[in-house]
């Protein structure tokens, strides 16, 4: 297993290399000159501008530019933002924990809720529960995630009031929304206790982010379970007199979970897309919002950094999923 993991990590290097070449080329075709603002400055002569351009390497051919970027990046210098003039790595390090907190909670919650629902749905196929669960899952897959976020704000932030406003947990006097429509913490004297405040701010964005995954997982868990329940070894398990509980939990569940693991791995990029909307709508200072804000202004070093970082994260989680796969299905051997 260790050898397999090492091999996969080594394989990730050429993959990341190709991704970086493609993304770098994409960004470099942009007719965007970071020194554009100086072109109209009467205090900077055309000669100075040319000298600056040469100093920054703006006139280098593409392969030379790429090589410079690569050699700097490998040494940990990811360049600096053209807007904030802070190092790209600092910008990312500031935001990444917030994104991981939000997506991590949404991810785990979606898994914990969807697996039992999918299983019950399959075991009681065509029951009322199954019909309701599959319909809601279908709706969850068809809803535009950003619109769902707006609806959550209308219902829980604009219309519903917090009944505990003015108490020790929510010192703010009424009217106070049931859940905040944005931000990560409350500022000022009326802030609730830190942990309460954290959770209070997480509820709506986590719900928004979890709903799509939840819908996906329910459908796959149900399909996987239905598939497994038709197998002969399940009939054998029942025939030898095992309790239904043991048949479902011990025999069927593990095999039914395998396709779900694959889907989770494939969904990782989708999680980033979701985070982009969630963070933008709920002013959550994470990677998605960082990308959105800097994409609007064409700040390419930051965009490049975020894309490379997400690619690395996605490759890493794919590897984790494959290892989990091997754990669930001993028939899969990695050597």
């Amino acid at each position: 297993m260790t050898r397999y993991i090492i091999r996969r990590l080594l394989q990730a290097i050429p993959l990341l290399f190709v991704i970086s070449v493609l993304v770098f080329a994409l960004i470099q075709i942009m007719p965007n000159n970071p020194l554009a603002a100086m072109q109209n400055n009467p205090n900077i002569s055309p000669e100075d501008l040319l000298r600056l351009e040469q100093e920054y390497g703006l006139r280098d051919p593409l392969p030379v530019k790429y090589w410079k970027w690569l050699s700097h990046t490998i040494r940990g210098d990811w360049g600096e933002s053209m807007i904030t003039h802070r190092p790209v790595l600092t910008e990312i390090a500031d935001r990444l924990p917030n994104t991981l907190l939000l997506s991590g909670i949404a991810f785990i919650l979606a898994l914990l809720i969807s697996i039992p629902i999918g299983m019950i749905s399959a075991v009681r196929q065509y029951s009322l529960f199954d019909h309701i669960a599959t319909t809601i899952a279908f709706m969850g897959q068809s809803i535009p995630i950003f619109w769902f976020g707006l609806i959550l704000i209308i219902v829980f932030s604009v219309n519903l009031q917090n009944p505990w406003a003015g108490s020790a947990w929510f010192p703010h006097p009424p009217p106070l929304p049931l859940f905040p429509g944005g931000g990560m913490v409350t500022l000022g004297e009326y802030a609730p206790p830190p942990l309460v405040d954290r959770i209070w701010h997480l509820v709506l964005p986590v719900t928004m982010l979890a709903v799509f995954q939840l819908a996906q997982h329910v459908r796959y868990m149900r399909a996987g379970m239905l598939d497994v329940l038709r197998q002969d070894y399940i009939r054998t398990a029942r025939a030898k007199g095992l309790k239904e509980r043991a048949v479902i939990l011990r025999h069927a569940f593990k095999n039914a979970a395998i396709p779900v693991v694959t889907i989770i791995a494939l969904e990782m990029p989708g999680l980033f897309n979701g985070a982009l909307f969630t963070e933008t709508i709920f002013s959550w200072p994470g990677m998605g919002r960082l990308f959105f804000l800097h994409a609007e202004r064409g700040d390419y070093p930051v965009l490049m950094g975020i894309l490379m970082f997400s690619a690395m994260l996605i490759i890493f989680f794919n590897l984790v999923a494959d290892v989990a796969y091997a754990f669930l299905d001993p028939r899969i051997r990695f050597d």
Partner: protein, 307 residues
């Protein structure tokens, strides 16, 4: 096993037997049984008819602003209220539906075409070509597509490709460029399993050209999953378009789409929630209808599929 009563009777009566069922009528019989898919077809047809005829039939101009009618709540006159510039939301949503539905359809067609070409070439020829094309698909699947779509939009907007700077063309291109991978994998898998079959070998023996074998012999047999994927892609394309437009990277106002109508809705939630509710509702209705139709088609076209 007992014979089907109809079949048995037709065997007995001989001459009176039903004409053999065509694939199309068989599929329709299965599709009809999927009630939600039927409902989806009705809803989608209504939406399309509304998008075509409502902007023609109304006395409200979807683009005309009227500052006195700003933020009117839904009423008989304005069934979905008015927006911040006093424009009727219902008429505007129907006009926006034209654009959104057209983008969804065209982006789907382009994505399916790209995916089918790449998938069939990779599956038919195999070898290095297959390897390169599928690694390309893997790479695209490893990237957060929305991020790439935003970058591509900016690239096109900066005028890198002349003629694709504004209007609905750049967004169609961007949506297709970031969504062909699934179809390509699907088509490749079908081609891989079909290319070694006897009827393909026979066609090769009589000297048919590769292109002809791919188009006339293999592709028709691989059509069912493509049709299902194509249907589902319409919904996905509309979601992507509306998302990009919502973020400001899609079709630019004043041309309405369901996505860019929502662009400023968040700042208006406190006093005019209807500006957020209705355009999104249309997206939701369209996508869920399309997805149910896709589900019904899967049942109808795939004889092995058991639900």
């Amino acid at each position: 096993m007992a014979a089907h009563p109809v079949a048995a009777r037709s065997l007995l009566n001989g001459a009176e037997s039903r004409p053999p069922e065509t694939l199309l009528s068989l599929a329709w019989r299965h599709f009809r049984r999927h009630r939600l898919a039927l409902l989806g077809s009705v809803v989608l047809s209504l939406l399309i008819l509304g998008a075509i005829f409502v902007p023609m039939a109304t006395r409200y101009d979807p683009g005309k602003t009227s500052i006195l009618d700003q933020y009117l709540p839904p009423s008989l006159q304005h069934p979905m209220g008015t927006d911040g510039l006093g424009r009727d939301m219902f008429v505007r949503a129907m006009a926006g539906g034209r654009v959104s539905l057209a983008i969804g359809l065209l982006a789907m067609l382009l994505a399916i075409t790209i995916g089918t070409v790449i998938g069939s070439v990779a599956g038919y020829y195999g070898g290095v070509l297959d390897n390169v094309l599928m690694r390309l698909a893997d790479i695209m699947l490893t990237m957060p597509t929305l991020f790439i779509a935003i970058l591509l939009t900016q690239l096109l907007r900066a005028g890198v490709v002349p003629g694709l700077k504004a209007g609905i063309a750049p967004i169609i291109l961007v949506v297709a460029a970031t969504s062909w991978m699934g179809v390509a994998r699907l088509v490749r898998a079908s081609f891989l399993s079909l290319r070694k079959r006897d009827f393909v070998t026979a066609a090769q023996m009589v000297g048919a050209a590769n292109l002809r074998i791919m188009l006339r012999h293999i592709l028709p047999n691989a059509m069912s999953p493509i049709i299902v994927a194509a249907t589902l892609r319409v919904g996905a394309a509309i979601i992507t378009e509306s998302g990009l437009s919502y973020l400001g990277f899609g079709v630019q106002p004043p041309t309405p789409t369901w996505g860019n109508m929502l662009q400023h809705a968040q700042s208006e939630l406190d006093y005019a929630p209807w500006t957020a509710i209705f355009p999104g509702l249309f997206i939701f209705l369209t996508v869920i209808s399309v997805n149910y139709i896709g589900d019904g088609l899967r049942d109808a076209l795939d004889p092995h599929h058991v639900e």
